[in-house]
Symmetry: C2
Subunit: 198 residues, 2 copies
């Protein structure tokens, strides 16, 4: 059994990815140096190259994992609320996206915050994966609109992007130690579905 390689918590490659995602989230990709990352995980900068071919490669894997986490969360919300009321389906998916952002490691949060300024060569690789995730949301909303649950006049792509913007930006201010994610998901969904007017 592997005893010395994984004594406490994780080590090696996954540990590096975890800390890197957290650092990229806080200081940005270009604002984080490999020596800073190496210090955090307790090794030397050159040693990182045993696990990754380049800094861009490291970022690519983080962005990829961020999408994987979102997709998995979407899967679970889909299977558990496939035939629920429209507003409940939305809430489940909102809750799932927030779970990806806050409850499943720093990958999704790092993704939504660093993707925009990532090097073009990295973005090229990740864009199709992002598109696939966004397409699932668009398709869900499109069907709800076709079924008459969503107003026929609204642009499904616009309301999705507005909703995404609201959820993703919460990484900047929502504190899981002070707020409750279930209640937050309910609040966001209520605002999305019914608005704030009395």
């Amino acid at each position: 059994m592997p005893q010395s390689t994984t004594v406490l918590a994780e080590s090696g490659r996954d540990r590096i990815l975890d800390e890197a995602a957290a650092l990229f989230l806080r200081h940005g990709y270009e604002g984080t140096s490999l020596r800073q990352l190496a210090d955090t995980v307790g090794m030397k900068a050159g040693s990182l190259y045993y696990h990754f071919a380049s800094k861009d490669d490291l970022l690519t894997e983080i962005l990829r994992r961020g999408i994987d986490v979102m997709q998995t969360a979407f899967d679970e919300a889909e299977t558990s609320t496939g035939s629920a009321r429209p507003v409940d389906r939305i809430e489940a998916h909102v809750r799932a996206h927030l779970s990806a952002l806050f409850e499943n490691g720093p990958y999704t949060a790092a993704h939504v915050m660093t993707f925009r300024t990532a090097p073009e060569s990295v973005r090229e690789i990740v864009v199709p994966l992002r598109d696939a995730y966004e397409a699932r949301w668009t398709e869900m909303l499109r069907r709800l609109q076709a079924d008459g649950a969503i107003q026929p006049t609204v642009d499904v792509n616009v309301i999705r992007l507005v909703l995404f913007g609201a959820m993703n930006a919460s990484v900047e201010w929502f504190d899981t130690d002070r707020g409750n994610l279930d209640r937050f998901a309910a609040a966001i969904t209520a605002q999305f579905w019914s608005g704030v007017a009395s």
Copy 2:
């Protein structure tokens, strides 16, 4: 009259700030080098120090201008719709914030996109200015809630942050060449005020 100093468009300090804000927006603060900026404005990197004490100083001024633009936009919306219907007041302020983001230079867009990863010493200077702007929104929404126009159950700070997230994130995807800002402001306001449900 100053002829040779401002022949075509702007030059000097304002030109530098304009181009820097645009570069920071695209590649991030740490992702933009002073040589890259100097190339863009047609001078040498060292010459930038005639106008700015440091790169951080340049960023500080850009973030400051970003808030100034927002405040000015808020002022105009306030004086022109002080006694209008609640939903129209909101729409005017949404339109004003979008105007700050898209129609008054790159400062506000650069602000909302680079503030999070800015050096701590820079953030410290800018935070009070941000707070002042956000307080005006909070106060406006709080009054609308006190007047019964907004549901008494919602948290005014949460709906403000959700709305801000949605508006600010649009910098990432909204294209002023393809979309109309008036219509976009109306759509965002309708979604905020009444929701998307049929």
